[in-house]
Point group: C2
Chain length 90, copies 2
Amino acid sequence: MRDHLFRALADPTRRKIVELLAVKDRTAGELAEEFPIAFASVSHHLGVLKNAGLVAVEREGQHMRYRLNTTVFQDMARYLVKTFSGGTDA
Amino acid sequence: MRDHLFRALADPTRRKIVELLAVKDRTAGELAEEFPIAFASVSHHLGVLKNAGLVAVEREGQHMRYRLNTTVFQDMARYLVKTFSGGTDA
DNA sequence: ACAATATTGAGATGATTATCTAAATATCTC
DNA sequence: GAGATATTTAGATAATCATCTCAATATTGT
């Protein structure tokens, strides 16, 4: 369950997407322009991030607007803090 | 550079290893017993974690004792907090 | 409804990776 | 030093994954 989360952030392109979205929301096209790979490939990465719950998407006319889901990041950060501090509970 | 870190935690077996080490230090053999895969495979995972700086290892007689490197986890947690909070600096 | 734009889905391919078995290395005990 | 135990390395294989191209879907404007 947390597997999707870590797996999603394991790819540098997807981390870059997340970092871009942290600054401001963007459409799929705006995001795709930032990378030297095919639009379809960026779309695939967006799908992975969405599936992991890291981003949310909403149609906006012809565009699809992506935004960060900060809640999930907090959950992840909490997991890390709990783990490195030798936490005993889940 | 941070790539090794996220990549290392992308695998569920390695996350389990980290969680076990968070409770207490263990030798390679003690860790390997916790998993249904071959010892050599666990050894491989330990190598990945060590390479990512997430664990440290020290010889202890015939055994190799692994322990968690909490510093790196803090770095990772810091990155997440900075990112989800819309951080502008690296 | 048609043409244009934006985005995603499908299928293929090359690279990475998790796992295995078997061999190699290191330490301990006798 | 020989044998036993602990761990890693090497080489092979199957699965996963990032990327590509091309086709499909959705929306807009005329």
